[in-house]
Amino acid sequence: MDYEKLSLPNYNIPDDIQNAVAITTLDRLYNWGRRSSVWPLMFGLACCAIEMIAAQTARYDLARFGMEVMRPTPRQADMMLVSGTVTKKMLPSIIRLYNQMPEPKYVVAMGACASSGGPFKEGYNVVAGIDKFLPVDVYIPGCPPTPQALIAGLIKLQEKIDKESIKTVRWYNKEKFDGNYVPMPILGPDLIDVRRNAEIRDIASAKATQESA
């Protein structure tokens, strides 16, 4: 949908009240309200978190976009900024935080590590990208992304919010919405993704037969 057309209701306002009345769509009003006050979760993982802090300081000033209110509790946050390397040991905590955030919620993968594992992908304790577990809305490249790049990524998220419609968003869809709950992974001999339990068992037993053969 064209961004400009959203606010054109095809209704002519009489000249004498043009300064007093504005007409827009409900979607536009709703999205404008949410995109202008995205509250990120105060949550830093690694190097990228430092650039995230820098983006909030006077020189870059994230407050210009309504994103300066960082909430330490997931219950009050709209957006999770995964700022750094996601390790297997940390992953259950991240998933728990995500599950505790109320809808609507967004995930931004900041930097190479959160997007794909980055320079540490080969590491045995590293999850190769948070998108293996969480639905990511915006990926920001860089190692670490500069504050400007972070702000550019967050503006992309705002554009994404602008294009949403109350009619189609998942959190108002009673039939389809399942709570967006991501099952908690377990720390076993390695990271156990419980959604893949059967698959893991099959491959592990195939491994055993392969070795004995």
């Binding site: 993982l45 650039e51 390790t87 940390m90 590491g123 304790n125 190692c143 993704d193 055993a208």
Partner: protein, 581 residues
């Protein structure tokens, strides 16, 4: 610089004949101690020879010789070169080495790390649990025969990517199509999840005493982190509380364990430089410095004269911005949210501009090379540094000190809250500003000078009370001393080449070992590198200041109020990238 000859001046062989032998392998220094007599020898090293500070403990897996080695590096807090002694054991499980925790309490976490990553059991260690990985993890990752799930080849550059440059996904090669590896016949549904009983059992418990007339109280265990706004990253601490008083405390770490050591041993020497940037991500220049001088020690090369000055300038600028951030973040932790740290970040940005001008990146500079630095400093950047150092930073430091030190609340929070005394600090291997605030003038730039620090006129910042106030003020002192060094370096910097070597993708490193260390803003940053003559380091170990300094946290916090814990943690100036690696 420590040479083999200077190290040998301490003759352990003469003192312990038949127990100790000199390490005769080519390129190696130090002594090899009999496993059975390790505690006896270590006691003598500390009490008779005066090596009171045990800085680094690490394992090395010599799989070809079927040996596991534990390397200890001991130093004197009065300065001078160190002493390396090693224990070699058969590489057959269970691998057991006596723990030195009763001689140097600072080995606590480092021994746990060696147990976690190498499977070396330290007998007599009271709390030998995994530290970086979780309990229940399969295998000891740093052993040479242990392969990570995304294993491709023993060493880089991988044949698939060089020289042909074919691109493949690591996921395609792993049966689980992910960074996973499970033992054969593993059934996830039958797996019993570790409830961390060991951790809670290791906490000191408060037993309820039935005293007549007093109220019955009970202990409470609180977990702070890994997601907590004031733990400076993803650190977790389990605390036992009696009311508001801390009785026992155990840090739990590894939430940012990015496997520097394992990746570093696959990388070529040069490829490790960008990885060192990401250790202590506030001070990538300092990290580069430590790694560069270690490998240069192994290669036995000189650094170009101009590059030496550039290195010192960058490292000291890094120290200034680190301490400014420290002060800002400390205020955050004490409840002065944001405003002081906004002031600190303002100055930091100006220093980062310089880093960007010389290296192309704000934070991850990747600037040092063996024998020099990668690019010359442009004249406009030198002018900018000069203006900052002579004009702006001294004024801003004074301003910050004036704003803060006249604040009564801040003084009340800081004065008289004991952090450490000198004996405790040395025993726990604490280094850096925290040690100097207890009255020990131990600064590697003076105690064991590296690079060209012996040419500059500066004082080692020392404070004597060891309380929070001194820990806080010593950062201001250090900023001023760094500015002094910077001023002199800017005056003396010569023209000339910036690297003594030809640019090369692979450097030739002769076989041997080296332990290089620098005074990073957080303490002693050490690198232990073993080379076997191949293009990759055989062993690449980082001895991070934050990790070892954190060993003292339980002793620091016991008996204080939980509200002070956050500030005491800030005093240690930990950074998770370096702590967990």
């Amino acid at each position: 610089m420590a040479t083999a000859l200077q190290t040998q001046t301490v003759d352990l062989v003469a003192r312990f004949p038949a127990i100790v032998t000199a390490d005769a392998r080519s390129g190696y220094t130090g002594f090899i101690v009999n496993k059975e007599n390790l505690v006896e020898v270590a006691t003598a090293v500390r009490d008779e020879f005066g090596f009171d500070l045990l800085t680094a403990v690490t394992g090395v897996d010599y799989i070809a010789e079927n040996k596991m080695e534990v390397v200890y590096h001991a130093y004197k807090t009065i300065g001078g070169t160190g002493l390396a002694f090693k224990v070699q054991v058969e590489r057959v499980d269970p691998i057991e080495v006596p723990s030195l925790i009763n001689i140097w309490a600072g080995v606590d976490f480092q021994e746990r790390e060696a147990w976690d990553l190498y499977g070396i059991k330290f007998t007599g260690h009271p709390d030998l649990r995994r530290i970086l990985m979780w309990e229940g993890y399969e295998g000891h990752p740093l052993r040479k025969d242990w392969k990570e799930p995304f294993f491709e080849e023993e060493t880089k550059p991988f044949k698939s990517r060089w020289p042909e440059g074919k691109h493949t996904f690591s996921e395609e090669k792993n049966p689980f199509r992910d960074n996973l590896n499970f033992p054969k016949d593993f059934d996830p549904e039958k797996y019993i999840v570790n409830k961390e009983e060991d951790l809670y059992a290791s906490l000191e418990r408060y037993t309820t005493k039935d005293v007549e007339g007093s109220m019955k109280t009970d202990h409470i265990v609180v977990n702070m982190g890994p997601h907590h706004p004031s733990t400076h990253g993803v650190l977790r601490v389990a605390v036992t509380l009696d009311g508001e008083t801390i009785i026992g405390l155990k840090p739990v770490m590894g939430y940012l364990h990015r496997n520097h050591d394992k990746i570093g041993e696959r990388n070529t020497y040069l490829q490790n430089i960008p990885y060192t940037d990401r250790l202590d991500y506030f001070n990538s220049m300092s990290n580069n410095f430590g790694y560069a001088i270690t490998v240069e020690k192994l290669m036995n090369i000189q650094v170009a004269e101009r590059a030496e000055y550039i290195r010192v300038i960058m490292a000291e600028l890094s120290r200034v911005q680190n301490h400014l951030i420290f002060i800002g973040m400390l205020m955050n932790d004490l409840g002065a949210m944001y405003t002081p740290s906004l002031y600190a970040f303002e100055e930091r940005e100006l220093i980062l501009d310089i880093f960007e001008a010389v290296s192309g990146a704000r934070m991850m500079c990747n600037y040092f090379r063996f024998g020099g630095v990668v690019r010359d400093v442009p004249d406009f950047a030198l002018k900018k540094i000069h203006d900052l150092v002579t004009d702006r930073l001294p004024a801003k430091t004074d301003e910050m000190e004036r704003f803060l030190n006249e604040n009564e609340i801040l003084m009340a929070r800081l004065k008289g809250i004991h952090v450490l005394n000198a004996e405790e600090a040395i025993n726990y291997s604490v280094t850096g500003p925290v040690l100097r605030a207890t009255g020990v003038p131990y600064d590697l730039r003076r105690a064991d000078p590296y690079s060209i620090y012996d040419r500059f006129d500066f004082d080692v910042a020392v404070r004597h009370n060891g309380d929070m106030m001194d820990n806080y003020l010593i950062r201001f002192d250090e900023i001023r001393q760094s500015l002094r060094i910077l001023e002199q370096a800017l005056k003396q910097i010569p023209q000339g080449p910036i690297n003594s070597q030809k640019p090369a993708y692979q450097v030739r490193v002769p076989a041997g070992e080296a332990y290089g260390r620098i005074e990073s803003p957080k303490g002693e940053l050490g690198f232990y590198v073993v080379s076997n003559g191949k293009p990759n380091p055989y062993r690449y170990h980082v001895r991070p200041a934050s990790f070892v300094n954190l060993t003292a946290i339980e002793s620091i916090c016991r008996g204080t109020k939980i509200a002070d814990f956050v500030a005491l943690l800030a005093m240690l100036d930990i950074v998770m990238g370096e702590l967990d690696r």
